[in-house]
Symmetry: C2
Subunit: 231 residues, 2 copies
């Protein structure tokens, strides 16, 4: 069992949040800075725009994640109340739903009947079963939304500072972009590798995927901005 | 049954993608434009930065979503192969896992035994059961990743044009910002309302939530950019 569980091991939620926030934080501010480097002559504007984007992105991701988590919790609780009501008011319909679920599992008529009768003896187990197997809803952790929002938001800020930092030290946008590409590419590879590892994927494939997204987004922003400036 | 199904009705994936892409596309370009309005004197820079951000964000969200979908599919298929291997090589362990799952449902020893024996008669049903109820994995739709990526990316572009459009017509960043706030607030409310409706939430609460996120992100970007420009 131990070996089996280990192979299916889920990553820690905390690490996942950090890696998600940081790799997104690396990508969009990097691409924005790249786009502006094609269009403006002052690094000051790039830094200001970058900082504004980091603030906006961190709030949108963090608060958005928090409210999504709250919504999921509200939804779960509303459905839970409804199921409790249904096992009270229409128990025969709910028993038929239990039998249907067991039928879909390919189990015999005998087991379907017995399982539905046994379920009906314990309302809490019955409702939990309907929540999970009829509606596909798992009980969300109420503290998860807040923690996750905070971790993702802060990681976005930390990630966003990386592609922006070279512009503090260089005189022209294009030399800033050069160093930004180097440090960001390294960080994207590291975080892609790490992200793939914690989610149980092939690490090098994951590293290249994250680098590809960041590189394409930055290249697109650069050429679109240049096109627009020359038009 | 019909009434019951209706109340638990899931939204169409297509609509969800459109609404997700569009409400995110409204939020971040809006906040970026607001931040830059506090810091620069030319609307041209805001337009260029906005377009660069829209290109970057659409690619990051779209391509990111596509690769996440691909990764999920790979992960599902790898676990599926592993489960088929396990029911061949360690059938007794897997039967015990079936019994454990039925035990957690609160069912009697008799049903646990019978269900495990019946499962073992049909490898496909058995593996499907383990995938869903041991590992909590649903079979992902292989075309879903590509469609979803395209829908979200394009909606992000459409959404992003909304907060940016007033800057094309106004002389100064601050008057652009005024009209941008008005049109974006209206669109955020409409999309928040719609998003909440398709996901089965309270529509007005959803509308206000989305407006709150957009407003806070824009306000934060505005004040951070102003602070940084004055420093």
């Amino acid at each position: 069992m131990t070996e089996h569980q280990e192979r299916h091991l889920q990553s820690s939620d905390f690490l996942t949040d950090i890696v998600i926030g940081m790799s997104d934080g690396l990508t969009v501010p990097f691409a924005l800075a790249a786009g502006l480097s094609a269009a403006v002559s002052s690094t000051g504007i790039i830094i200001t725009a970058g900082i504004a984007e980091i603030a906006a992105g961190a709030i949108a991701m963090g608060l958005g994640g928090y409210l999504a988590g709250k919504t999921e919790l509200d939804h779960y609780q509303a459905e839970l109340r409804r199921e409790y009501q249904e096992v009270e008011t229409v128990p025969e319909t709910e028993k038929k739903e239990v039998r249907d679920i067991f039928a879909r599992l390919g189990l015999s008529e005998e087991i379907r009947q017995k399982a539905a009768e046994e379920m009906a003896q314990n309302k809490k187990l019955w409702v939990d079963f309907m929540m999970k197997y009829e509606l596909g809803l798992d009980k969300p952790d109420p503290r998860r939304a807040r923690n996750s929002a905070l971790n993702i938001g802060l990681s976005y800020v930390v990630g966003g500072i990386v592609p922006l930092s070279p512009y503090f030290f260089t005189g022209t946008p294009l030399s800033g972009l050069k160093y930004s590409c180097i440090v960001t590419a390294i960080c994207l590879l590291v975080f892609g590798y790490f992200k793939a590892s914690v989610t149980g994927q092939s690490p090098w494939k994951g590293a290249l995927r994250v680098l590809l997204i960041g590189g394409l987004a930055a290249a697109a922003a650069f050429f679109v901005a240049r096109l627009f400036t020359q038009a």
